[in-house]
Amino acid sequence: MNRVIETDSPEVFADEMEKLQDTLPKKIDANPQNVEKGLAKLVLTLIELIRKLMEKQAMRRVAAGSLSEEEIEKLGETLMKLENKMKELKGIFELKDEDLNLNLGPLGDLM
C-alpha cells in the first residue's frame, strides 16, 4: 500500500486534531480515588444532553412562533434556572463545559 498523507498545512491540522483529542475523552475516568467525580461527570453529561435538547426544542418553537408571550417568559425562567443549577453542580465537581461530553466510538460524540 503506497499510503500518502498530503496537506499544505500540517501544523494547522496537527493543532486542530490535538484540540479534538483533548475534548474527547474515550472513557469516563472512574477509579476508586475519584469515583464520585467520575459518576457525577456521567450523570451531569446526561442531564446536560437533555437540557440542551429542551433548549433547542424551545428555540425551534420560538422560531415557529408557536409560543405565547407568557409561555416564552415561563420557559425562559425555567431554562435559566436549569442552566444556573448546572453551573453550580459543575462548580461543585470541578467540571468544565468540555468535560461534559462522551465519545461513543463509531457513533460519534454525544454532544
Binding site: I5, D8, G76
Partner: protein, 269 residues
C-alpha cells in the same frame, strides 16, 4: 504466565501466512483458520497493551498493511487481546456471517480520509456582526425570562446559520469525490474550525482518480485547507451485527477510527 493472543485482523483465507513476519513483542504471526477464513494473531506475554506505545501502534499497522497487500482484511482495533484460542473460535463462530458479508462488500476496496479546515472563528464572527446589524428577532426582552430566551435565540440563529454555511462548503468538497466512491461517511464540525472529516470507500482501481480529484480540490481557490490520507484498510466501513444475537457487534473493529487517527497523527509528525 498465561499467554494472551493479540489479534491484527480477520482475513479471507484459512491458509498459513508467511510466519517469518513478526508482530508485537517480536512474536511470530500466524493465522487461526475458521471455516474458509482466518484471523491473524501473535502470542502476547502481557495482559494489557499500552495504548500510548507508538512503536506498538506502528507495528500493528505494519502487520495490517502487510496483510492488506495479499488479502482482504477486516482490521482489528489496536490492542485487541483474546484470552485464548477458544475465545477466538467463539468470536469467529458468532461473527462468521458478518465477516463474510464484509469481505464481499469490501473486497478490492480501500479507504481514503479527507479532512478540511475552514476559518470557522472568522465565519462565526461575520455571522454575529450581520446579526447585530439586523436585530429582527421575534422577542422583546422586557423580563428576565424573555431576556434569557432572546440571548439563547440569538445564539441559536447564529449556530444555525453557521451550520448551514458549513453544509454548503461540505457539499462543494464532497462533490469533488462523489463520482469515484462506493460509500462515504462525513463528520461535520468536530471543532469550530475542523469543517469536515470525511471517509471514502473506493475501488482500488480508482485510487489515482481519487487522488487527482483531491489535487483539483486543493488547487481550487478558497480559504479552506485540506488533508488527504490513504489508502487505508476500510476501518470505517466494517459493519457488524452478530448474526446469532442480532446485536451490533461488540468487536472493536468498527471503532478502529481511533487507531487510525492516532496513526494519521504519527505519520504526519
Amino acid at each position: 504466565m498465561t499467554m494472551k493472543i493479540y489479534a491484527y485482523g480477520v482475513i479471507d483465507s484459512d491458509k498459513k501466512i508467511d510466519e517469518s513476519k513478526m508482530g508485537l513483542d517480536d512474536a511470530p504471526l500466524f493465522n487461526i483458520p475458521y471455516r474458509d477464513i482466518g484471523i491473524v494473531v501473535s502470542e502476547f506475554r502481557s495482559t494489557q497493551v499500552q495504548n500510548e506505545d507508538k512503536a506498538s501502534i506502528l507495528k500493528h499497522e505494519e502487520v495490517v498493511e502487510m496483510l492488506t497487500d495479499k488479502f482482504t482484511v477486516l482490521p482489528m482495533r489496536f490492542s485487541t487481546l483474546f484470552g485464548g484460542k477458544e475465545h477466538i473460535s467463539l468470536m469467529m463462530r458468532d461473527y462468521y456471517d458478518d465477516f463474510k458479508e464484509n469481505f464481499d462488500r469490501l473486497r478490492e476496496k480501500v479507504e481514503f480520509g479527507v479532512k478540511s479546515i475552514w476559518p470557522g472563528d472568522l465565519i462565526r464572527e461575520r455571522i454575529i456582526i450581520a446579526h447585530r446589524k439586523n436585530d429582527n428577532l421575534p422577542l422583546v426582552a422586557n423580563s428576565s425570562g424573555k431576556s434569557f430566551m432572546k440571548e439563547k435565540f440569538e445564539n441559536y440563529k447564529i449556530d444555525k446559520e453557521f451550520e448551514e454555511e458549513a453544509d454548503r462548503c461540505i457539499a462543494i468538497v464532497d462533490g469533488f469525490f462523489s463520482k469515484f466512491i462506493s460509500e462515504k461517511k462525513l463528520e461535520k464540525l468536530k471543532t469550530n474550525n475542523l469543517l469536515l472529516c470525511a471517509y471514502y470507500l473506493i475501488d482500488k482501481e480508482k485510487e489515482d482518480d481519487f487522488k487527482k480529484a483531491f489535487e483539483e480540490l486543493r488547487s481550487s481557490p478558497s480559504d479552506l485547507k485540506y488533508l488527504l490520507s490513504g489508502p487505508w484498510p476500510p476501518y470505517n466501513f466494517i459493519i457488524l451485527t452478530n448474526s446469532r444475537t442480532k446485536k451490533i457487534g461488540s468487536l472493536d473493529m468498527a471503532d478502529m477510527v481511533f487507531q487510525r487517527k492516532d496513526l494519521e497523527e504519527k505519520d504526519r509528525t
